[in-house]
Symmetry: C3
């Protein structure tokens, strides 16, 4: 970093030493080069801060959509998947994902940020908040019944191993990227990876007590409403806000003039997702449902994350509309047909719509936006769609396999689930010895 | 966008190809030009993200200041006025407001962002979040009794028609702007437009049940306290935070060195508004009232929005002080004298203080800050004040007229108000079939 | 500012007038100079907005960790220490802190921002949000029993006098800075100053009723749990988010390429603080405690604030680990041994860990990061550690002395504490005539 200091001194000298110095063309060139680095630095660090803030959004959404007696536990899980995750991503994950490529399979340098230069710090800062996003998605689907210690171990393994490996394949120079797989900001890399892991966890955990009750051979599905919808809504607004860092920051360059294009398609898809999830719930249940509309906004955001740079606004609209409809149908299908208990709809929002958005690149990518990425509806034929499908399928297989193995090991050793009694009383008391809303009259057995 | 990619390649080549390349002066010029675009891009998109986040602020303020039984409905309205609003603003609103001017009255191009270049995407992104702000202001004044479907239609019309027309007159090249009307970030264009629409809505809706009770020929005014003051406070902090994007972003340029001046006047006026609303409530009610102090901060922010670039800090202080006092008196007057039921004080905060701030430009504008804008106290005479008054009056007439017509049509067709029974039980159950705080003991008939 | 406008016109002319103009080297130099100013402007104003948002974080943490019956009062205190504080910092504080140095003791110009240029506005904007942070820290330690009027006066004195004087010594050209004291973003200047004042306040106020009960000569310590842990968690996430502005913004330059280094060490220390406070509470209490983990994240953030630029990632990890352990032990010690009632743990988080982080510069500073700042473990010997200790001690003596005097005066005149009866019923009713959660069933005597 000595060099940086020297460079800064040169610049300061130039800027405040008077205009005549600029006769030296080499110095002007150095300054212009520094400015390029400064653009990337402030843009990506600011975007990283926004993406970090999405942790608050996830925490509020998951807390709000579950019961009051487990609120402290959910908070704790969200705090810890970022905190423990950031440390292991610094130690191992970042190196596996973005270190020098070995055979298209994994990275093998940059561990512990040893000898990092400013650009490496910048990249780590932007990537660590993405890694944490993948890990935190799991928390919601496993809410209200998972042992805290098991969650802690699982969450670390996702950030250190499961996420970085797939991330290397797609973004770190690995085989998927080499094949032409296009996932601008991580519909698959981040959201589907988190979402499939959530599915694996929810399957092995089993449903919450009283969620599916057998009555005379038939399964009656009980709705378990969340305890704080305003908090969940706040979470969605925070996530949407942070998504401008997530998607627009994924230009990875502060001088890329497509930043606003990305922000615009993100906005349009999220809006369409919210509106059409609302209409779908209106038709399906007879009334416009706030939780579904909120999940619709998230579904639109997840879906546009891969194609946000490649799609035009009209493509973004359609992608969002489909996402809004899809999320309602998927939530209903997973709950009512598959009888898998996902308290916050994480699988439908992140896995299903992550897959949809990634495939949508193969449909709606306009090659005028990103050179060489061309969808079916823009004259690209089936090629890109096929590559996208390979990426979607790979994520499913990789994460379901590693996730099921990991959860099975945890289940067979320290145990994955709290006791029946603890689940009834709430995990806040059982796991943490506290209550989230001291002084309030709450019906905790609900 | 092909051109952009080529340009980026040139820059990358220049920056990393070594300093000797800079002998070519034309390339240096291209790079410097790109940097100007990059400054504007990252500044305005980041500012737009902050302004988007204000939606969360509005949602929390309105939810917190009303009753628990309607919290889900308010969330839903806030989510939808942004979501539906963004789509129609993309389709129609932006073109009407910023398309090529036709006769000083409306814009006639840029619909659907067809053929948009990076600068147009950037401008749309910054403007769509402003349009949504205007629409969302109405929600609070019409809280706790409005039919959801009627609100949905109304909200779309504001974002597609009512707001863009006035916006074109003031900001899009229309007749008000040509006349010299100065509204830096939208005290009138955004806040008064939203606020007068809120007034029209509240008038045609009538008060909430039990708000004004006739007892022996005299009207007894009942206070209906909000259910979550910490949430309302969070909302105000979020709004204040977002306002730095709203006002400082309205420089519309990342190389405008008055950005910090704008942020400073914004801070001082908001602070003065909070402090003086608190003191006014202390004198008026005998105790310093948190809701009034919170609304005082918002009143200061609304009032400084027009003059934030033109006023000096001392002007900002006075503008904020007046706003803080004015908001308390206005809330009292509208409630106790006019008997118009505005649950969150939206009319006083946004319409009244929007008007005040816009007129304040004609008093406190220092021409040393913005060339040609000169207030009465800075040697400008009555000219600017007169022009500002024309703008304020125009907004009032345009919005009240269109608003009353629109609400009257809705009232006469699908109906504007929920049934008496639904209002008592709460709109969450009636309109949406849910409850916001499941498991909590709440007295819903309050 | 006339000059600014002219300069902007030149730039606009250059950029859009065509490349040939760039034959004039002087103009290129002017543009490059303007860009440097623009980098600093947008970076610091955006960072300032993030730091402002920390006010919301403090408000939510303090509200969530105390009882529902005092929530409105805490909101009001947090709103007012920023609002009143900003006004007096504009009038007096900024000039005392950053005005022209007089004898190494205080600044004597820049009051009221008279004649400020863009750079001065920028600096004020960044500094005013720091001043408010110092003031707001006190609020938590004095929660649930302080008279509102006394708090208001105290809070103004901190922002106008106590904070600016120490700030001048360390950052404004005063004697501590001259001596080589290194506090990158304010572990001592902001957090310890706030934290020691909080200690002074809590000592003179005495504990909340029922907190320490004498039973047969022995003092029984009662835990008084907070009423809203999700809100407290949201506050911590907001604070962590805002800290990226706080620390990375303290580069004070948008072209400083160490911005990401600072963000990375901040992230690692905060994460380590959360994880190790959790483990410590697990060992200490038998269960992982959410409140402790949340305070652990804050402790890590406070501790890394001074060394965030000088320490390497491994140093940041150790600093965070120590902070996480330290905060739990300190909270226990202050509560169980000293019997000083600090409802939110403000003294342990801000004063104790502020001191730790400041001393840690003397241990972990790598001179490769910041020239001339070299810690014990990086070959710097004891010199830097000694200087850091002088700074830590000076803050303690200055703030405890002025704080105790100020609180004693308030206690002897208008009174520092509400009546016993008001404390039981809650300060919301007594001080403000309102309740924070209207309609909810709450056990207020808890």
């Amino acid at each position: 970093m000595k060099k940086r200091i020297a460079l800064t001194l040169v610049v300061v000298g130039l800027l405040f030493g008077g205009g005549t110095l600029f006769a030296q063309d080499a110095s002007t060139a150095d300054t212009i080069k520094l400015y390029k680095q400064a653009f990337d630095m402030i843009w990506m660090v600011m975007a990283a801060a926004l993406v970090f803030f999405m942790q608050a959004g996830f925490a509020m959404v998951e807390t709000g959509l579950t019961r009051a007696k487990n609120a402290g536990n959910i908070i704790m899980k969200n705090l810890m998947d970022f905190s423990a995750g950031a440390i292991v991503y610094w130690a191992i994950g970042f190196g596996l994902m973005f270190g020098a490529d070995s055979g298209g399979i994994l990275g093998v340098s940059k561990f512990f940020l040893v000898g990092a230069d400013p650009a490496t710090y910048r990249d780590w800062m932007f990537q660590v908040v993405f890694a944490a996003t993948a890990a935190t998605i799991v928390s919601g689907a496993m809410a209200e019944r998972t042992k805290f210690s098991a969650y802690l171990i699982y969450s670390v393994v996702v950030s250190a191993i499961i996420y970085p490996f797939f991330g290397h394949w797609a973004w770190g120079g690995g085989w998927l990227g080499q094949m032409g797989f296009h996932d601008f900001a991580g519909s698959t890399v981040v959201h589907s990876v988190g979402g499939w892991a959530a599915l694996a966890g929810a399957m092995l955990l089993g449903p919450r007590k009283g969620k599916y009750v057998k009555v005379g051979g038939k399964t009656v599905v009980k709705a378990i409403p969340g305890h704080n919808i305003p908090l969940a809504a706040l979470g969605v607004f925070i996530l949407w806000f942070g998504w401008y860092g997530f998607n627009a920051g994924s230009t990875l360059s502060g001088t890329d003039l497509s930043i606003a294009h990305v922000a615009a398609t993100t906005t349009i898809a999220a809006a369409a997702g919210a509106v059409f999830a609302m209409f779908t719930s209106w038709v399906w249940f007879g009334k416009p449902d706030p939780s579904m509309a909120l999940n619709g906004a998230l579904a639109g955001l997840v879906a546009i994350t891969a194609p946000c740079g490649a799609a035009d606004p009209i493509g973004a609209l359609i992608i969002g509309i489909v996402a809004g409809i899809l999320v309602v149908l998927s939530v209903e299908f997973i709950d009512k047909v598959l009888h898998i208990d996902d308290p916050v709809g994480a699988v439908s929002v992140h896995a299903v719509n992550g897959a949809w958005g990634t495939l949508a690149v193969g449909l709606f990518a306009n090659p005028a936006n990103i050179d060489g990425v061309s969808g079916l509806f823009y004259g690209g034929g089936l090629h890109q769609l096929g590559v996208q499908a390979v990426g979607v399928l790979t994520a499913f297989v990789w994460v379901m396999a590693t996730g099921l193995i990991l959860f099975a090991i945890l289940k067979g050793t320290i145990g994955l689930r709290v006791t029946s009694d603890e689940e009834l009383r709430g995990l806040d008391t059982g796991e943490h010895g506290m209550e989230a809303y001291s002084g309030f009259q709450i019906f905790t057995t609900m």
